[in-house]
Each structure stands twice: as C-alpha cells, then as structure tokens.
C-alpha cells in the first residue's frame, strides 16, 4: 500500500470519522433533551478507558465468547479497507457485493454465537432477536446493492461507487431509492431507533446492547469499535448514494466529492439523532412493518434499475 | 337567461320552503303542487322546441335539444309523481310505530329537490366535464335519500352506494380526461363540448378516444347498475324510502344512460360506432339475462323491482346500441312510468305490512284489492305484456336487432325477458294471493292508488299511441 494523499485522507477519516459520527449523534440528541451531552470524542476516550480495564469473564463461557469481538472487529476493519465508503479507491481492491454481504453475515454469525456463549439469558434472546431482524432486513440491503450493481453492470463495489462522477451511468432514481433502502435497513443493522433504542437501559427491550451485555474491558472495547466502524461503513455507503443522486441534479466538482460525502455522513448522523429524539421505539410485532419499507425501497430501486437498463 | 331562471325557480323555491317550513303537511302539498306546476312550465318552455326550434340555449355549455327536453319532462313527471305520493307516504310514516323525525322528512324534501335539479342539469349538459360533474352531484345529493330511515341497513346501503358510485364516477372522469386528450389531436386546445367533439369527431385520436369511451362507459354503467357493477343498486333501491326508490329507478337510471347516449353521439360521429355498438349490445344483453336470473331468487319486494330495473337498464343499453335514440327514449319512458308505479305501490304495501320480505307479504288482493290489481298491472307493464308501452318498445328493439342480423343477442334477450316475466309472475302470484297477516294497516287505499294508477294509465296510453312517425320527431 502506497501512502498517497488519497490514502492518507482515507486512513485519517477511518480513524476519526466513526467516533465523530457517534459523538455527533449523541451531542444532537443531548441538544434535543436540553442537555450539554458528552464531549464529541467521548466514545474514543471510552475506548481507551476500556482497553485499560480488566476483563471479567463468566465462568461458563469459552473461547468463542472471547473471539467473537475480535472476529467482528477484524472483519469490519477489512470491509472498511476494501469498500469505497468515501468515493476513493479503497486500499484493498476488489470487493464484490457478495463478498461484502458474506463478510457482514460472518461477523453477525460470530457475534451471535459469542453472545449465546456468554450464557446470560439476555444476550441469548438478544441474539435471537438480532438473527430475526437481520434475516428480515438483509434482503432489502442486498437487493439495494444489487440494483446498483445492475445499473453499473458490475458487482464490484469499487466500480459501482468509484466511478468517475461525470459519466456515472447509474440513474438518479436507483441511487436515491438504494440510498433510502440502505438507510432504512441500516437503521435495523445498526440497531438504532425505532427498531432498537441504543440509549435504553431496559434489558428486555434491547437488542444490540443486550447482546454485548456480558462483554467487558478490552473485549467490550472491540465490540464498540467494530460497531463504530460498521456505522462508518453504512453511513459511508448511504451518503455516497445520496451524493451521487444529488450530483445528477447539481454538477459537483470531483474534488469536492469526498468532502460532500463526509458532510452527508454527518447530516445522516443528524437525521438519525432527530429520529431517535422524536420517534417511538416500535413494538416488536411492528418491526416487520418497518422493515417492509426498506424492502419496498429496494424493490423500487431494482425496478428502476431494470426499467432504465431496458431503456438504455 | 330567463329560461335558466324558470328552470331553477321551482326546485330552489321548494328547497327553501323545506328549509324554513316545519309543517310537513303544508310542505308536502305545496311541493307536490309546485312540481306539477313546474312540469307545466317546462312543457310551455319546451313547446317551441318540438314545433320548430332546434335547441333551447340556457347558459354556456347548457342547452337542450328535443330528446333532452323529452327526458327532462319524463324526469319531472316521475319526480312529481314520487313527491306527490311522498306526501301520503310520510303522513303514514309519521304515524307509524317508530315515526320518522320531522327534521329527517324535511331533509328528504331538501335533498330530493336538489337531486331533481342535478338530474335536470344532466340533460342540459352539452359539455362532458359538466355532464360528469352533474352526474357526480346526483350521487352526492341522493346518498342522503337512501339514509332516510337511519337504520343500520340503510346506512350500509348508503355507504355502498356512495363508495361504489364514487369510484365508478371517478373512472368516468378518467374517461372524460382521455377523451379530452384525444380531442387535442383535433384542435390545439382540446375541447369537452359535445357539439364541438361531434364536429371534430373525424380528427380525434381514435385509440385514446376508444379508451376514454370505455372508461366513461364503465363509470356511467356503474351508476346505471349494469351487470356486474350493479351490486350497490338492489341495496340502495331497497333501503331508500319508496318515493326515493321511484326517483332512483324512474329518473336517475335514465340520467346515467343518457350520459352513455351522449358519448355514443360522439362515437357515431367519429365513424367508430361499431366498437361501441358491440360493447353496449353485449353489456346490455348480459345484464338482461343476469338480472333475470337474479330475479328468480329474491326475498325482498323492492329488491325484486330493483333487479327488474337492472334488467331494463340492460334493455336500454341495447336500445342505445341500436343507434336509435328515440327507441331508447321510448323504452326509458315506458319503464319509468310503470316502474315508478310499482315502487310507489310497493311502498304502500311495505308500510301496510311492515315488512319488505316477500315471504311475509301475502294476500294483497284480499286486503286491498285496488293495490293488488294495480300492482299486478304495473308488474305486467314492466315485464312487457301488451298492451302496455314496454311491450311496444321491447318489440321495436328486438325488431331492430333482427334487422341488423344480431340473432344471438336477440335470443339472449328473449330468454332473459321470458325468464324475468316468469320470475316476476311467480313472485307476484305469491304476493297477491294467499292469506294476509292479521295486522295489516291499510292507509288511504284510494288516494294512495291515485298516482300509481295515473302512471299506469300513462304507460297504457304510450302503448296505444306510439307510432314510428311520433318517434321520428326525436330523431336528430
């Protein structure tokens, strides 16, 4: 890997952006609650703190429990390095849509079994919920990416997202609906409101938080970090979709592109914070109704992809 | 402009009277007298039309030719008869065990007058947009009439009527839009005026126009209860009070079919009548046979006549399909007179027996012979027994079809008519004969038979006097 300026930007954003996003979301939520809120980089400080802490392990858990966070962190890091979440060519080339989806699934699998391994009843049923939700949300997520792939005539994510902006041949509607579908399924995948309330303390309603309820110390730090990376990855993809659909209406200079993606990522963070401040967490039975919206958007996207493809 | 004032005057005056006059007896007498007076005014207004002039111009886009004038007169006769009978009907209703509220009766009069006005407007419309709006107005205004009894059943019927007809009329709007779009090929701005469309018929975009015709036909057919879009009709006719049912069957049905006729006018001018012809012919024939089959298994007396109305709507469609508007007019007039008589008599019987169920109505001939005889004669008149007018018009329609060489529809129609006749006769026999229930409450048997009797007489007169030369008056 050569240290070009593009790569430098990539690495810097990779290290700072995840914590910034989490910080911004928390800050804005605090704003809506008339609180000052934690410092923007509090999650980074937390990480440092957690790495310095001792780890407490249940006497029932095995190596699976320990390895889960490690696998999810390394998988997430791999994805972040190979998927163009800024529209710059990623350092590790050749990430296919399906590779991406499978690595995500692999990560999910390991986090699920590691939380079951902990033996706590909360983490077990949270794992079951996680499995159910991702089972429902994954089609939307995959279909949205596939629609992009159809329009781009390639399943290489670097090709889909990394195309030069002037002759990007994916139509606006596909970008837009895919972006919406990714955002809605991202809410599910990232365990955010209205599917899961990340700030709740209620054991029985949590999904992600309950899954990691047994993790502590460096183990928890890895979980938090990989969650931050996942947030970055998803927001990056979604932000690109919206930036590209915007670029169909307003001509964006190619150099501004990474900047505008970053801005849109932060805007998405604001949007998420607003949703979390004002929406109501859905009843468990209503979650499929919400996910149906994600599926619909991805259906619309693939419909548009097919229709436009037929036209051109 | 004066004509417009004349036409608006009586219904609006009657509406105002109904709003401000709390006395039902005064109200009902005044309104019925006013309506007959209205009829006289209209005859006076339209007299020159039949003598020489081509059309009566009312307002931008509103004018009436001979056939429209005839339909208007028919509508007013039917409404006047129904409203006259309504006086007796409500008098009884107010004395019954659970009397209707004074306010509801007044609301009935208000709505009925506005409804009448909207129906008259339909015939004046020389613009598809206006035509659509006035048909929609008839739906909105008459929904309240169905809800007169304030019962759960009437509410259900009203809701069905309201929602199904609204959707149907919305489709008709789509048709109107498509026709408008097609007219933009003929003139740059496009037009909805019917005379203009007729003039430009040759230049219309035909695929668009055909599509528009189909949608408009579907919409107006829903309103006229053509099979299979009829599901609201028996409910609404059955749940509305008898005078309202009479207006629905005798007048509103004609409105919707008149709109279809107007469409056919344009169709014919465009030289593509053949497509419309087969649509109308088959829709009509299937409606006739379907309604006849439904007639066999009916439990409610007014539902029986409702299905008979559907059957007649089918016949009228066929009449339109033959391309002879005067035939359509004749069939409409005959059906309206006889059917109104039937509905009004049934209203009497339902009030006397307190039930709409056929199985509970027995021995009408025994307990009130006048009603029984008139009911039998009206029913025969409706099913087309000579010497009543319906027979003549049905015969003319079938004759026309035979001349055209459409033998299969003729066979279907004949089968349908025969089946309908048998079904009605069987039900009629059960109504007329047998042992009546004890608690019949006959109410002014002579007075309440007056209007139906006169209508029946009208039907008889039509049966004897119609000649092709008379019909030729209406051929444009």
């Amino acid at each position: 890997m050569i240290l070009t300026s593009a790569n430098l930007v990539f690495i810097v954003t990779l290290t700072i952006m995840p914590f910034l996003l989490i910080g911004v979301i928390k800050k804005i939520k605090a704003c809506f609650q008339n609180r000052v809120g934690p410092p923007v980089f509090q999650s980074l400080y937390n990480l440092v703190k957690l790495f310095n802490k001792d780890e407490i392990l249940s006497k029932d858990c095995s190596w699976i429990f320990r390895s889960g966070p490690l696998i999810s962190f390394s998988g997430m890091l791999l994805l972040c390095l190979s998927v163009p979440w800024l529209p710059l060519q990623p350092p590790v080339p050749g990430c296919d849509i399906f590779l991406f989806v499978y690595v995500l699934a692999l990560i999910r699998f390991f986090s699920i079994i590691s939380s079951i391994d902990a033996g706590s009843p909360f983490s077990s049923f949270a794992a079951s919920r996680e499995a159910t939700l991702s089972f429902l949300a994954e089609p939307a997520f995959v279909l949205a990416l596939v629609a992009l792939g159809i329009s781009a005539h390639s399943s290489d994510l670097a090709l889909i997202f990394g195309q030069p902006i002037e002759n990007n041949r994916i139509p606006l509607s596909v970008w837009f609906f895919s972006g919406l579908a990714l955002f809605l399924s991202g809410i599910v995948e990232l365990s955010r409101m209205p599917i899961d309330d990340p700030s709740t303390h209620l054991e029985l309603t949590m999904v992600h938080e309950a899954m990691v309820i047994e993790n502590s110390g460096p183990n928890l730090a890895l979980v938090e970090w990989s969650y931050a990376l996942k947030l970055l990855l998803f927001f990056g993809l979604i932000a690109q979709c919206f930036v590209y659909s915007l670029s169909k209406i307003i001509a964006l200079p190619p150099l501004l592109l990474p900047l505008s993606v970053l801005v849109v990522m932060l805007a998405l963070g604001c949007l998420t914070a607003m949703i979390e401040s004002f929406s109501v967490k859905l009843s468990w039975g209503k979650n499929p109704d919400f996910i149906a919206y994600a599926v619909s958007m991805s259906l619309l996207s693939s419909l548009a992809a097919f229709a436009m493809n037929g036209g051109s | 402009m004066n004509d417009l004032v004349l036409i608006l005057s009586i219904p609006i005056a009657a509406t105002l009277l109904a709003i401000f006059c709390p006395k039902i007896a005064v109200l009902s007498r005044t309104v019925s007298l006013a309506l007959w007076f209205y009829f006289a005014i209209l005859v006076y207004l339209f007299a020159p039309l039949f003598a020489s002039k081509q059309a009566i111009y009312l307002f931008a886009g509103l004018s009436a030719d001979r056939i429209a004038a005839a339909f208007i007169l028919l509508t007013v006769i039917i409404s006047a008869s129904a409203i006259t009978q309504a006086g007796i009907f409500f008098e009884h209703e107010l004395l019954s065990e659970n009397p209707a509220e004074n306010l509801h009766v007044r609301q009935f009069y208000i709505l009925a007058m506005l409804f009448l006005l909207s129906m008259i407007t339909v015939f004046f419309c020389q613009n598809l947009g206006f035509l659509w709006m006035s048909i929609e107005a008839t739906t909105l205004l008459s929904a309240g009439l169905v809800y007169f009894h304030r019962s759960q059943n009437s509410l259900e019927a009203t809701w069905k009527y309201f929602i199904i007809c609204s959707v149907g009329i919305a489709l008709a709007l789509l048709g109107v839009v498509l026709i408008y779009a097609s007219s933009q090929y003929a003139c740059s701005e496009g037009t909805l005026a019917i005379p203009e469309l007729i003039r430009l018929a040759g230049l219309l975009n035909i695929p668009l126009f055909k599509l528009g015709f189909i949608f408009a036909f579907l919409g107006f057919a829903t309103k006229s209860g053509v099979f299979p879009l009829h599901s609201w009709l028996p409910d609404a006719y059955s749940e509305a009070p008898a005078p309202a049912s009479a207006m629905f069957s005798g007048a509103l049905l004609n409105c919707a079919l008149y709109a279809i006729m107007r469409l056919c006018d344009i169709c014919r001018a465009s030289g593509h009548f053949a497509a419309a012809f087969s649509i109308l012919l088959w829709a009509g024939s299937i409606t006739v046979i379907a309604a006849a089959i439904f007639l066999v298994h009916q439990h409610g007396i007014k539902r029986l006549w409702a299905y008979s109305s559907i059957e007649n709507a089918g016949l009228m469609l066929v009449a339109i399909a033959t391309g002879s508007w005067s035939l359509f007019l004749l069939q409409a007039a005959n059906h309206s007179l006889a059917k109104t008589s039937l509905f009004l008599l049934s209203g009497n019987i339902i009030q006397a027996t307190g039930t709409k169920q056929l199985k509970d109505i027995r021995g009408v001939l025994t307990f009130c012979p006048v009603w029984g005889v008139l009911l039998a004669l009206s029913a025969f008149a409706v099913t087309g027994v000579p010497p009543f007018g319906v027979f003549i018009s049905e015969w003319l329609i079938l004759n026309e079809l035979m001349v055209m060489g459409q033998f299969l529809p003729v066979a279907i129609l004949l089968a349908g008519l025969a089946l309908a006749f048998i079904a009605v006769s069987v039900h009629l026999g059960q109504i007329l004969f047998g042992v009546p229930k004890k608690n019949f409450r006959i109410f002014r048997p002579t007075l309440s038979s007056l209007v139906p009797g006169l209508l029946l007489l009208g039907s008889l007169v039509l049966g004897f006097t119609v000649t092709p030369s008379l019909l030729a008056v209406f051929t444009p």
């Binding site: 939520k29 809506f32 609650q33 008339n34 609180r35 009843p121 909360f122 049923f125 919920r129 409101m193 209205p194 309330d197 700030s199 709740t200 303390h201 209620l202 054991e203 029985l204 309603t205 979390e276 401040s277 004002f278 929406s279 109501v280 967490k281 859905l282 009843s283 468990w284 039975g285 209503k286 | -």
Partner: protein
C-alpha cells in the same frame, strides 16, 4: 377515622367477607394481625364512609385461607406468613411476599422475641412457578436492574417473544418499617411513616397523621386540611409527570422524557414553596402542618401558571403522537373483571373501570371534589390517559385550593396520648391509589401495631396478569404504565 371493631368467628369470617365484597360499595381494606394471634380484616364501606374491623381470634399458627374465594386476599396472606409465620391452610401458592431468600426460615419479624426463642421455624417455599412445554424458557430480571430503579425480581416464562407467565418476587427492600413504627416515640412517628415510600411522602404522612389524630381526638384546622390537600396534589402532580416522563423514556422519546423531567423540577419547586422541602418531607404532622406558606403563595401562583401551560404542550405532543398511541394501544390489557376481582386501586384500577377514588369518598368535606374519569380498555394507553387526566385534575384542584384557602391556625398542639384499645385508620388517595395506615393501640394508649397498606400491594398482581401474552419487549412499558412502588410494598 376510628374504626368499628366487631369480633368475628373464624368459621363465619370467609362467608361474611364474600358477602361483604358482593356489594359494589364495599371494599376490603387490608388483612393483617395485631400480634399473630388473630386476624384483623379492615373493611371499608364507601356508602356510609365507615371503616370496620373484624377481629378473628384463633388458636395456633394457622387459619383457613381465603385466597381461593377472595383472590385479593392472597397478597395479605403471604405477607402475614412472612411477618408472623401464620400459615393460611389451603393457600394455592404460598410464597414469600415481603421477605426474600436472605432471611432464614425461623425469622418472622413481627413475632415477639419470646416466640423466636422457642425455635419455631417456618418453611418458606422459594421456588418459582414451573411453566412446562417445549420451547418455554425463563428470563430472570432483577433484582439488580440495569437502570437506577428499585430492586424487584421478575421471573418471566416466555415462548418465543411472548410472555406466558410472570412471577414477581419482591421484598428486597424489607426494612422492618412497621415494627419500627411501633417502637419510636409518637413525635418521631411521622418521619418513619413518610419514609415508607419516599415518593409518596406526603400521602404517607397524611395517612399517618389522620390515624393518629383520630386516636387522639384532634380536630385539624381547616387551613391545615387545605394545605395538606395541596401537598398531596403537588405530590400527585410531580409523580404523574415523572411517570409520564418514564413512560416516554421507555418508549424511546428522549426529548419528551427530558421535557417531563424538567417540568417535574418545576413541580418540585411548588412543593418547596409550600413546604420548604422539594420532596414534601417533614411538612405534615399530627395536628396540622409544619409551615405556613402564606408568604410564598404569590410566587406559588406565579410558578403554577406557566407550568400548566408548558405541561399542556408537552403532554399534548406526547399523547397525541400517533406512534405513541399505536405503541400503547392494546399493550398490557387488564380486564375490568380481573381488576375488580383483585381489588385494583388508583390509576391502574381506573383504567380498568374501577372508579374508586378515596378523594371522592373519605376526604374532608371542605375540600373541592375532584373530577374522576375511568376507562374500560385496561391497556397501557388507558392508564396513560388516566394519568394525563389526573394531572389536569390535580392542577385544577391546586388552583381551587389556592383560590379558597381559609385563614386561621395551621396546626393544633401535637397529641401526647392516644385512646387505648382502639383501631384507627388513615386513608388517602396517594398518586398510586388508596393508601391505608392502620394504628392499633394497647391498653395504655401506646401504638401496638402499625400496619401500612400501600396501593402497590393491590396492584402488583394486576401487573403480573396484564403482561401475560404480551411481547417480552413490552414488559417495561407495561411495568411503567402501572408505575408501582417497591419500597412501599416491602415494609
């Protein structure tokens, strides 16, 4: 009020109780014992505004259980077993209610020491209900929860995401309050009494004061009665606002929850102006109230007006939110039949068509009558609606009380002697519902037995029934909608 004491034979107790409860105007107040040798059944007659005590002497350590015929007795019988070691024969599920695993089998707090020395032991069955069937699993929650809430253990038997059964085990906060109340001097009683449940401080203090005043024959000055009512309504207001905020937090509406928290601060301010304590502590004393608030009333009124306006805005945006309505609709349904059978009180009762409100029946006639509303859906939504309605009622009452505050002394001299050998009760509509303090005196006029019945005692069973067949994830919402007290229950 002093209650009428009637001896009742053990055999006729159950039929008499059943018959008593058949009348809609009759209620069962509480069942307890004085020293473990008798049953005291406190009955309330809402029509004649009287309290009646049936004293049933029996020999030995056991009596016939009522639970099977009078379901609302079951919690009392469990408490009796914990406190006195009295065994209800034929109780269907005799589990500890007030004590937990930490207490040994020979310990019965209200038994005299002499009896403990005899080495009697009371076997407590600590097992949980076993729900059979394939795929049924248990989720234990608590007693230590993830948030800062009181301890209570919930054993949820679930099938997938559905709750089949909930077993509630409380008693982790057992502090021996009732025992302590009989030991402290009369002047200190009020401090212990209001600490029974600190979020219900005013109500507990008023109930205690009422009971003591009845026993001392004191007539409280009118002004003190009004000031007490004011304190009670402020407490109700503050706790209802708090509960709504908690509900908003549980639903995930962070912004609304924060707004409620802020407004609760303003309500505390009202309390401070009135009593000098934001939590209304040490304000109410037997004979009257501790402080005259005349100086602060102008500011009180000034604070109240904007508070009402802001509350309306926040409540409106919460309760008219379609998602909130949808979220709460049909969650945790407690049918009116169950509510009646288990004698539910307060908000939860009124949400399930139990229209009983102590203020309508037992409060002093000079106080303004509250408007009462009840719903019959019995779900979390109706409980929230009732709570919202009661906030409005409390605000109205506060305004009315302020407008018509009588003048005069605020207290009479505190009592020194109580009437010997009688039983008096203080009944108050606390924000959770009917709160009863019952004091029985011995032949020298000392407090022999001090029994407290917190509204939560009636309602915990309601929660256990209401959550059945709901989603596991809906449990916190159900729980919050009932808003019950742990410490008030664990005496």
């Amino acid at each position: 009020m002093i209650s009428i004491i009637e001896p009742k034979d053990e055999m006729e107790l159950l039929p008499a109780l059943k018959q008593w409860l058949q009348n809609d105007e009759h209620r069962l107040g509480l069942i307890t014992s004085l020293d473990g040798k008798q049953l005291v059944t406190l009955l309330l007659d809402l029509a004649s505004r009287q309290a009646k005590c049936w004293i049933t002497e029996f020999a030995g350590d056991s009596y016939r259980s009522f639970t099977s015929s009078v379901p609302q007795a079951h919690w009392f019988e469990r408490a009796l077993f914990d406190m006195y070691g009295l065994l209800p024969k034929g109780h269907p599920r005799l589990k500890p209610a007030l004590l937990n695993e930490a207490y040994s089998g020979i310990f019965a707090p209200l038994r005299s020491l002499a009896e403990h020395d005899e080495g009697k032991s009371y076997e407590r069955d600590l097992s949980y209900m076993d729900v059979g069937g394939e795929g049924v699993y248990e989720v234990p929650v608590g007693p230590v929860h993830a948030g800062i809430i009181e301890p209570g253990h919930f054993r949820l038997s679930c099938m997938g995401e559905r709750i089949l059964n909930l077993e509630i085990r409380l008693g982790f906060l057992h502090r021996g309050v009732e025992k302590r109340l009989t030991e402290v001097p009369l002047t200190k009683t009020r401090f212990i009494a209001e600490a029974v449940a600190s979020d219900t401080a005013a109500a507990n203090a008023i109930a205690s004061a009422q009971a003591i005043e009845s026993l001392a024959g004191l007539v409280v000055p009118e002004k003190a009665v009004c000031l007490r009512a004011l304190a009670l309504e402020i407490e109700r207001l503050s706790m209802h606002v708090c509960d709504l905020g908690g509900m908003a937090a549980d639903l995930g509406c962070g912004a609304i929850s924060a707004a409620f928290s802020r407004l609760r601060g303003s309500v505390f301010r009202l309390g401070e102006l009135l009593s000098g304590s934001r939590f209304l502590r040490a304000y109410i004393l037997p004979g009257g109230v501790a402080r005259d608030a005349d100086r602060y009333l102008a500011e009180f009124a000034r604070t109240l007006k904007p508070l009402r306006k802001e509350l309306n805005v926040v409540i409106d945006s919460f309760i008219s939110d379609a998602m909130v309505l949808e979220r709460l609709d049909g969650v945790g349904v407690l049918s009116p039949a169950f509510a009646k059978e288990f004698g539910l009180v307060g908000v939860a009762g009124r949400a399930s068509a139990v229209s009983y409100d102590v203020r309508k029946v037992f409060q002093n006639k000079i106080l303004p009558e509250p408007r009462i509303r009840f719903e019959s859906a019995g779900d979390a939504l109706s409980r929230t609606k009732i709570r919202v309605f009661e906030i409005g009622t409390s605000l109205d009452l506060i305004e009315q009380l302020l407008a018509s505050l009588p003048s005069g002394p605020i207290a009479v001299a505190a009592p020194e002697l109580l009437v010997p050998d009688s039983i008096a009760v203080g009944i108050v509509e606390a924000f959770r519902g009917e709160l009863i303090h019952m004091i029985s005196t011995d032949n020298k006029g000392r407090i022999k037995r001090y029994a407290v019945k917190d509204p939560s005692l009636n309602n915990w069973t309601g929660l256990a029934i209401a959550v059945r067949n709901n989603f596991l994830a809906d449990f916190p919402v159900c729980n919050k909608s009932f808003g019950l007290s742990y410490s008030g229950h664990d005496l």
